[in-house]
Every structure is written in C-alpha cells, then in structure tokens.
Symmetry: C2
Subunit: 65 residues, 2 copies
C-alpha cells in the first residue's frame, strides 16, 4: 500500500494530521485529505512536500493574506 | 514501490511531466520533482492533487502574479 502520513509543520515540529492518507487536494480554502478508510479532514494549510518513498506528506500552515 | 507519475493540467488535458516521481517539494518559484532514478525537474506550477492509491500527482500551471 502506498498511503502516507500527513504532518503539519508548526514551530519547527511536525504534528500528525492524518494517518494512511490516500488522497490530497489543494483547494481555495485549504488542503483536503482523505484516508484510505474514508475519513476526511480539511486543513488550513498548503502542500509543502511529498516524500513518496518515505510515505510522508508535509503541510505548512496557510499564511495570512 | 510507491512512486507516482506527475502530470501538468493544461487546457483540460494532462501532460506527463515525469514518471516514477519519488519526491516533490513546493518552492517559491515552482515545484521541484525528483524521480526514484535521481532525475530532477523544476516546473512553474503548484501542487494540485495527489492520488496515492492511483499513483498520480497533478500539478497546475502557476498563475500570473
């Protein structure tokens, strides 16, 4: 399986947002994540980095506009 | 293996940018992609969607600022 864990970078730390993420979409108001179990979450962030071999997705908080 | 193919969406079509992508990073001036074979490419785009079960990364052209 190729699902990854998604983390939000905050103050130099990585906070787990969701495990076993299967789908990610950048939307106007944040990032939509869906796990392989069907759970969904919306995070006020943007996609920063994907390490597909390390099974890791990094998000960073959306900057104020 | 969990590498994915990366596509750039353009005029409703999907144009293959790189196969067997293992790493992706959003940078200030575009998206950096690295394949599992060590090839790298920089695309003037942003990360739109990741389908980890479908092994597909979608990028969209960076909007003019």
């Amino acid at each position: 399986m190729c699902e990854s864990n998604a983390y939000l970078t905050k103050d130099g730390k990585q906070e787990l947002v969701m495990e076993s993420v299967g789908f990610v979409r950048a939307e106007n108001d944040g990032v939509f994540l869906k796990s392989i179990f069907g759970e969904t979450v919306k995070v006020n962030a943007r996609i920063l980095e994907l390490d597909l071999t390390g099974h890791k997705i990094l998000l960073e908080p959306e900057q104020m506009k």
